[in-house]
Symmetry: C2
Subunit: 413 residues, 2 copies
């Protein structure tokens, strides 16, 4: 199918989907989950094909791991869909404004219409994104990485067969089978049919989408996150926080990438903390002062400060004061998640107000930046931009508003 | 000053401005207003220069009128700034989420940082936009049309001298004196310093910004608005509404451009309504059926259905039923403001849910789409896009959110 045609069908389907009740959408999510489980052998065999091709191309182990499906991963995709049923429907909620002239203005949340998702070779995103879009009443156009195309085809076919059982229009879930750059670019320009584009993946993907898209975009997920240990920090707490932020799941966007340490506690904090990190397999890249205090560190280059490693590597810098720390974060950070460890009220206040990021913490790990941890239920990503949504994006962020105005003949004077 | 330098300074100023209290910002708005009044002769003489140059270039009367300032217009610019003081400060408000693990999450409204405004030769936009940005804690980069450059320089110079008296950083208000296309394009690409771009003007300007900007954009103001007179309409009410929507202020975006009439009421409604419109100087361009019923109408072309006249011209079409009306609106409309006149509950419901626009009315004039009329106070424009803001944009829409998370050592399990 030609991509414009696909966009048009998604748009037409969205007009029906947007008006369906929560009951029908939740039934669809249940059917989609069941359908995934029933199709598990087809999905696994399609995934085998993708894995085989990836192996031949010499894909790295980390990427192969993201591409790989197994029974438990399919089970968790299905559980993810069923969990969405427990969340409130964001559509139709809103506020009422009664005006002196008698007009009743309803500000109501409505679906966007069609949401495009551009992502890499992670087949679980296919079902997560489709589930969130259906729940929020939006058609979805999925454009996953070419390496996962067989897995994605099998997953989408299962999802559609479940959705239609509940009365959801078949065209609400669309997979772009053409995974060329041209197809992605066409999707980015299809303003007449696509209302919102969400890229999910590495910084190169996101940059390409931001620079080429005329469809409105929400940037997600690039996280060069910092832990700053203030002069007055509880050093035991600081150690626990950096260990958690760096090592509990290094491949995710809310993991810490750089540790900043106030010079007055550098001698007392750095050796013990970095030893503990090294024991957990973390490679340390330090500034000159860090390398002096902790000779096990490799010297960091300018590039290290700007790098999201997504790996067991940590850049460490000793700073003169909190101002230098904040300046460093605002310069090199990606406005995702930043934390200060301190006992000082003024330091905490200054850090909270001056650091320009979606989530700014005091005395807690950056790893909490997550829709589930914030109590929003599922999330489609972490927005690092300021327009529309910032931080974890739940179902409500997949809606827009519409003003419905009820009158009885009012005209403007 | 080079434009990157100007962006950098605006960004630096925004870090200070964003932390200032409502008290200081309101004092600045007062000073800015006084300063405008004090500089009125400088402003008027700069405006004379612009008008002279425009006259030589043969600018149309309508555009000349937009460009022209006089004492009463300057007074109203000053009053606009003072009126902003009465509105609540959107910055710092928000909600609290207390999590089971003890984390306190504050979802707080904060300024964007730097907002760019690209507009045409309307010098009053200069002071309106600057006032709204300062009140919401944002630095502003103003890029007005070349025809108004002398007026804009005089206005901005007055605004800055007022703002600094109250302690607002001088660099918070920046005028792009270079009004070339290159300077506008540079502004559209300055993601490192500009957080949001709002184009205000005609559809060509907005299209250019949407297609060229990598800075996030909010589209505003193109309104190809419709009045649909349903089979069951109160025809007297319908006549009043179309007269109001078309003629009360034809040059604004919430004015109606096309009248759709159900065929069953066409014979009884069209002659009287169109005569009343003609009496008010409206030129009628009708479909074949309209021209048959009302021979004074000129035949409408395909282009008429898609045109925002912003003038005393009205396209009129007879439709078979409400579905055809809705389809016509969703095809040719610009998702701004649409109204149905009906006594039928099902028609009203269908129109409200199926018409895809920022503001959908029943039995009221489209002219109410306005921040003031909605009770929001001042507005920076009417958003016709779905991301971030839709419909009238008040001060709150000039803020983003930031999550501030207070812990006491929490790490993620």
């Amino acid at each position: 199918m030609d991509i414009l045609q696909l966009g048009k069908k998604a748009k037409e389907a969205s007009r029906i989907l947007g008006g369906l009740s929560a009951e029908i959408k939740d039934k669809a999510l249940f059917e989609m989950a069941d359908s995934l489980l029933q199709a598990k052998y087809e999905i696994l065999s399609a995934n085998e094909k993708d894995l085989g091709a990836a192996r031949e191309k010499g894909m790295s182990d980390a990427l192969m791991d993201r591409l790989r499906l197994n029974e438990s991963r399919i089970l968790s995709m299905a559980r993810g869909l069923k969990d969405l049923c427990d969340l409130p429907d964001p559509v139709g909620q809103g506020e009422i404004i009664k005006r002196p002239n008698g007009l009743t203005i309803m500000r109501q949340h409505v679906p966007f219409g069609v949401i495009g998702i551009i992502y890499e070779a992670r087949p679980n995103v296919t079902s997560d994104a489709a589930g969130l879009c259906i729940k929020s009443g939006n058609s979805v156009i999925l454009r996953g990485g070419s390496e996962a195309i067989n897995s994605n085809k099998a997953i989408v076919s299962a999802l559609i067969s479940g959705a239609v059982k509940a009365g959801i229009p078949e065209d609400s879930i669309q997979l772009l089978e053409d995974t060329s750059h041209e197809s992605a670019r066409a999707l980015m320009k299809m303003r007449q049919y696509v209302d919102l584009l969400i890229p999910r993946g590495g910084s190169a993907l996101i940059k390409a989408v931001v620079e080429n898209s005329t469809v409105p975009v929400i940037e997600t997920g690039v996280g060069n996150c910092h832990v700053y240990v203030d002069e007055s920090a509880d050093l035991e707490m600081a150690k626990n926080i950096i260990i958690n932020a760096k090592t509990s799941r290094p491949s995710v966007c809310n993991a810490a990438e750089t540790l900043l340490v106030h010079k007055k506690v550098a001698e007392s904090f750095i050796p013990e903390a970095l030893r503990a990190l090294e024991k957990r397999g973390v490679e340390i890249r330090g500034c000159q002062e860090t390398c002096r205090i902790f000779p096990g560190a490799k010297p960091a280059s300018e590039e290290d400060w700007a790098t999201e490693y997504l790996d067991l590597i940590l850049a460490v810098k000793v700073v003169d004061n909190i101002d230098e720390a904040i300046e460093h974060i605002n310069k090199y950070g990606t406005s995702h998640s930043e934390t200060i460890v301190t006992k000082n009220y003024d330091s905490a206040s200054k850090f909270l107000s001056r650091v320009d990021a979606a989530c700014v913490y005091v005395n807690a790990s950056t790893r909490f930046t997550d829709g589930g941890e914030f109590g929003f239920g599922a999330e489609i990503g972490i927005s690092t931009q300021k327009l529309h949504a910032r931080g974890p994006m739940g179902l409500k962020e997949l809606t827009t508003v519409k003003y419905l105005i009820l009158g009885n003949g009012q005209v403007r004077l």
